[in-house]
Amino acid sequence: MTAVTFREAINRALSDALEEDDRVFLLGEDIAAAGGAFKVTDGLLDQFGDHRVRDTPISEQAIIGTAIGAALKGLRPVAELMFADFTGVCYDQIANQLAKYRYMTGGQVTVPVTIRMANGAGGGFASQHSQTVENWFLNIPGLKIAVPGSPADAYDLMRAAVRDENPVLFFEHKSMMNVKGPLGENREPSPLGRAAIVREGSDVTVVATQLMRVRAEEAAASLAGEGISVELIDPRTLVPLDMETIGSSLDKTGHLLVVQESPFAGSWGSTVLAALALERFEMFDAPPAIVCGDDTPVPYAGSLEDAWLPTAERIVDGVKALVRG
């Protein structure tokens, strides 16, 4: 069991996927010769050659369209969009074509496309390169959404995504690239749609993904010192969403705090809150709470972005307010 970075975990998953299945290929801007803007695909060109690891022009519509078309013919494309915010220039291909292709044709095709992209804030990239873009696709049935929060999850979810017969949007948090964690060999394939109980606890259920999961882990550790026991759940995929695991935890703790990086409206966090209010209203011992990003674009300056992005302290405060009433 070695410790690897988030970046290395994805790199290894891609390498193993390419190794396992000839139908898998990678395409994107600067992913081959340069190894990717975040160096996630480093070395794969040398290992697998330019037939399977391909640099493209700056043409995101063409990248996604190519992935769709190739998948229609039985290939398993893994497309990179560098920054998730660039889904803006190919949103139609993702939301109107990829997500609906199988449905509109009455199930004549499968479209096993994986789209990898760097997500989230915290790096000083300003408004157009810092969004938590998973929220843009929640209301589009037909797309699975993976939001790994640790190197091991990144590896497992990537392997599962590439093997899945459905389109998967795969978000890699750009402020987590160097986060380290254990990654054992010979891992079991883990299906998409199963939440992780990152930490067991009894007082409060905290639900968080990606960078907020990392910060929630810190917060939980510090709260443990104050005698508050946090159960931390990472949904790992937002579609499918494992409401059963989240709900069971709420049943146990009676307290819920959702922590997310993005603004509130139309987010996965508000979706989870709403779903629990509908389905498990009586299980709440206190009103639920959320810690989330401000309702503004992401600002550039370090001081402003730090204030924008929820911190471990804010999570600690949120939990305390919840359990102490």
Binding site: G65, G69, K73, N96, Q108, G142
Partner: protein
């Protein structure tokens, strides 16, 4: 071609009877392009088209009855009633999809072409789109990528002079869309889109190049939309006499004239019309008799 024409006439009838929902876009007058183009294809090749795709999908060999069934929203329609007129698809005959977002099929065609190269086959992808689509971003990205990767894609622009109700000259600052090929270092060819033989020959040449690994071609087929854009279209944007002039050059009329010249009897041609009418009538009757989809079927096919 005749079958397609009769199919479209029947579709229009169904539409006016309120049996077709949403919009439906007929290809009457443009049959030679799709028939000429699709005849070039062989097993393994693929075809993508637009919401104006009935003709192309039929030309690939989709069954008449299941095509009607889809337009009527029946359980046994090509797509189980989920797609409708704008999304006719029959992958079993190589008709990989009718796309209703203008231009969105072009990048997908690049992928179908790519798969052939990746898999080491000589398959090609034939991709239809309209003159209006040549102004949308996806067109540009698709042609550029297909060219730089030398992919076997035949981009066929059905220039019918209009995008909806707006004439080409108000939206496109050049005369020939085929000339845009030079931006991508690929050949651009114009062809009389109402001459089915000419279309066949032009697209055959492009296909041969594509199969040989020499890359994509942009083909502009000049044709005319004899009907409205969709539904009830007053058509008042057409200059006087334009429609009549094009009706003179009706692709079916032209094909028949050329067959007559080659000595085919008028009887044979009349017989072909009658056969088409019978086949279409029987097909639509069958389709109309089919069941509605089960309501629960709407939850199927979101996920594989």
């Amino acid at each position: 071609m005749i079958e397609i024409r009769v199919f479209e006439e029947e579709t229009q009838r169904l539409f006016t009877q309120n049996l077709v929902r949403g919009s439906t876009h007929l290809c009457s007058g443009q049959e030679a392009v799709v028939v000429g183009g699709c005849s070039v294809l062989r097993d393994g090749d693929s075809m993508l088209c637009t919401y104006r795709g009935h003709g192309a999908v039929l030309a690939m060999g989709a069954p008449l009855d299941r095509s009607f069934g889809e337009i009527l929203g029946k359980a046994d329609g090509l797509c189980g009633g989920k797609g409708g007129s704008m999304h006719l698809t029959d992958v079993s005959v190589g008709a990989y999809g009718s796309v209703a977002i203008v231009g969105a099929q072009l990048p997908i065609a690049v992928g179908l072409g790519f798969a052939a190269r990746y898999q080491g086959t000589e398959d090609v992808c034939l991709c239809f789109f309209g003159d209006g689509a040549a102004n949308i971003g996806a067109f540009h990205e698709a042609l550029n990528l297909a060219s730089i990767w030398k992919l076997p894609v035949l981009f066929v622009c059905e220039n019918n002079l209009y995008g909806e109700y707006t004439a080409l000259r108000f939206t496109t600052p050049i005369e020939k869309i085929a000339d845009r090929a030079s931006s991508y270092g690929m050949p651009g060819v114009e062809v009389d889109g109402n001459d089915v033989g000419a279309v066949y020959r032009t697209i055959s040449e492009a296909a041969a190049r594509a199969r040989a690994g020499e890359g994509p071609t942009l083909i502009e087929a000049l044709t005319y939309r004899q009907k409205g854009h969709s539904r009830s279209d007053p058509g008042k944007y057409r200059p006087e006499g334009e429609l009549d002039a094009w009706l003179e050059r009706d692709p079916i009329g032209l094909a028949e004239a050329s067959l007559r010249e080659q000595g085919v009897d008028q009887d044979v041609l009349d017989e072909a019309h009658r056969t088409a009418e019978t086949k279409v009538r029987e097909a639509v009757q069958r389709a109309r008799s089919w069941d509605e989809p089960e309501l629960e079927s709407r939850f199927k096919d979101v996920w594989a």
